[in-house]
Amino acid sequence: MKFVDEFRDGELGRAVAAQILDVVEPGRHYKVMEVCGGHTHSIYRYGVDDLLPENVELVHGPGCPVCVIPMGRVDDGIAIARQPGVIFTCFGDMLRVPGSAGTLLDAKAEGADVRMVYSPLDALRIARAEPDRQVVFFAIGFETTAPSTALTLMRARAEGLENFSCMCNHVTIVPPLRALLESPDLRLDGFIGPGHVSTVVGARPFEFIPADYGRPVVIAGFEPLDILHAIHMILVQLRDGRCEVENQYTRVVPYDGNPAALRAMSEVFALRPHFEWRGLGFISQSALRLSDAFADFDAERRYAVPGVRVADPKACQCGEVLKGVIKPWECKVFGTACTPEHAIGTCMVSPEGACAAYYNYGRFARDRVLS
């Protein structure tokens, strides 16, 4: 398959791994964060980290949109789902994220009409087909997904649909990265930048990382060779004393992103003053609400929601995992009380979550091929 097979070639992978070995300085420890959950998943699915030298450590970042939703927002979603006449729609992973008293799937089992959709457009189709019911879409995701919600709401308004609304939980990628860089817990040497978020926002928003924090960023694709190549590019920058934003994923990511998508987002959304991230706490201007022009479609204005902040379960260490402070297997409940089937923490729910990636691919510790 075009753009796939050539990026999974084992021989080429070993060649890039050998180049990585040539670039690293013995005695120096490198910590590289992959920001995006999609990268975390690929790294463990393909065993990318097995090809890295012992002194190159991959740290998993906060870029899994399901993993960063706090319990209070799940509770708010369930409160809307339980309203009479409501059809509550959301992506599949979201159904299994625990709130303070169960998941959306539990609410469905208790009688709420909760339905899984693949896109906001699917939710809009349900609204058209069921004009006597109110259809609410629980929107999550970074800037990759926000354009889909924006275009769907523009379509709903153009069609005059009055039985469709959206509970907006879209988040933005730059503020949590800045929060991580400000965190005293973590010393990072470079970042593997998110590939598909960058198709929308472009590479420019990441320029603050080299400019303000002196760390290289390489935007990367999701195939194993993309990730190995990006790690090599970061290590070459560090060896050469350079520090800039580079784009490994040029076959997909334009440096300026997709201006039409950004225009649609700016029409439909406005920045929230602050938003709670699971494990990271409140981060200013890090999430989107519906703009005043789309207030009629805002489920949080249509329905009363508890809006209560709920502390994460004490046993769960998703916060430390999301900040890359601990590895998933270092969490006390990893693989015992917390599994993909019965998740305590969100990092175990989504396949993009670091804990699920470790659990599903049997990564309970690191075995190295190269050293």
Binding site: K2, F3, V4, C36, G37, G38, H41, R45, G63, C64, P65, V66, F91, G92, D93, M94, M116, V117, Y118, S119, P120, L121, D122, I140, G141, F142, T144, T145, P147, S148, L151, T152, P194, G195, H196, V197, T199, V200, F222, R251, V252, V253, P254, N258, A260, A261, A264, P340, E341, V349, S350, P351, E352, A356, N360
Partner: protein
């Protein structure tokens, strides 16, 4: 296309994951796109596309023409 189950591959809609799809035909201002034998109706207003083009699709929106 992969699903959202715990032992499946990426969740195509929730994560930062795009799927390469081929534009098969246009219907009512949307494009019917195909990948791995499955068709989805996709919003293509953010890109200039013609039949036969390959696009990167996320949550039923084409974000880039490849």
């Amino acid at each position: 296309m992969s699903s959202c189950g715990p032992h499946e591959a990426h969740c195509i809609t929730c994560g930062d994951v795009g799927v390469e799809m081929r534009v098969v035909r246009f219907e009512d201002g949307l494009a019917v796109c195909e990948a791995a034998g499955e068709e989805r109706t996709v919003e293509v207003t953010l890109v200039d596309v013609a039949e036969g083009d390959t696009v990167l699709v996320h949550a039923d929106v084409a974000l880039v023409r490849l």
